[in-house]
Point group: C2
Chain length 207, copies 2
DNA sequence: CCTCTAGGATAGGAGCACTATCCAGTGGTG
DNA sequence: CACCACTGGATAGTGCTCCTATCCTAGAGG
């Protein structure tokens, strides 16, 4: 199919498709002649992936580009998943500011929960977050951290057992990124509801 | 003090202060003469609040404006807190798209957790999120939701007991917004770490 | 032949959060 | 009393991101 049909099938305007081509989010079509190109089903699914990452997950063009380049470069799937996690959860923003600092509290959590004690982006992000909260004067007690980590441990256990990784790399990014984002948002929303519920209960008791 | 001193004490450029004045995020100073105005300590703390909401929480000007107008309009504290929650957690985005739809799953959570069964923004946001995930084909099993809700229930219980509300309204917004945001981010980061830890463990076992 | 389309280049535009400039009117300082 | 820094008010410009539109020529298909 050619550009116009690709546009019609995905609902993305030709101008935007051209833009994605320029930014190399979308690989160039097979060039038939100087002025004609042929696009495949792969282009359709790639465009759908781009749309999902933009509209649902809310990544920007640069972030999408870096993930897709990794995928196209044949990076190991575990590296890819790590990159997806970094990008989707915005771990970069927090963790790159400081170096590889460790916080006692962060280490305690890992020991307490019996999580493997290996350095990781998530680990750094946690430490950075704890440092940030410290610096802003928001208290994080050991007790609170214990409750939080126990809760997320339970969540992660359920979550991971409910997941199967697809073969196709684009598909892998799609499910991983969309899943991570949506589950994160779900937890945030549940947390808000739980918080409101507890507040109401306490308010009723006080009144 | 006058504008320049206000700028120096808060680290916000005079141009930005003027901008905030124009957008009425910052109340006008007491006008001494046609060309001179006097700012108070309240302006300093208000500016710090604006900075925190912008830089830390990541709200935009319109959102900050709406919260501050509520505060200045003497809205009830509970309404204010609800608005803060809506804004900080982005509950508006999701929940306004659909109406007041209820999902069986959302209701089940509330009953199961014995949370007060009253309509709320958080409730709507949860239902909307569940509907969204449904529509995107991301499965949310009752089992998963149960685990999630149990976990956040525990978190909320700890969280709320560790909080005391300040008297000053600006201060209330500051602690509520910053606290909500940072705790939400903390949970997300912990979740990422827990997820990674479980993945590593499963990977090791498989290998 | 005529119309349509591709690709390439470049420019335009919208939204956001500032930032800069210009203005004329003062306050206080020397 | 002259002068300069500073004021509020107005308006325009900047940098960023993500597109969208226009213009061009070469070539395909009816």
């Amino acid at each position: 199919m050619q550009l116009k049909e690709l546009s019609e099938r995905t609902g993305v305007s030709p101008a935007s498709i051209k833009f994605y081509l320029r930014e190399s989010l979308l690989p160039a079509g097979r060039s038939i002649h100087a002025t004609r190109a042929e696009y495949s089903e792969h282009h359709v699914s790639r465009l759908e992936l781009i749309q999902a990452l933009r509209r649902v997950v809310g990544l920007n063009i640069a972030e999408i580009g870096s993930l897709l380049r990794m995928a196209d470069g044949g990076a190991p799937r575990l590296d890819l998943l790590a990159a997806v996690q970094r990008t989707v959860l915005g771990l970069d923003d927090v963790s790159t500011e400081h170096g590889d600092l460790r916080t006692p509290a962060g280490d305690a959590v890992v020991r307490f929960r019996n999580w493997p004690d290996v350095p990781s982006d998530a680990r750094n992000a946690l430490n950075a977050q704890l440092a940030l909260m410290e610096s802003l004067g928001v208290p994080v007690t050991a007790e609170l951290l214990d409750a939080y980590s126990q809760a997320v441990d339970a969540i992660a256990a359920v979550n991971i057992s409910a997941t199967t990784a697809p073969e196709d790399v684009d598909q892998l990014i799609m499910t991983a990124a969309v899943g991570m984002h949506l589950h994160g948002q779900l937890v945030l929303k549940l947390l808000a509801l739980a918080h409101a519920s507890h507040a109401i209960r306490r308010y009723d008791k006080d009144a």
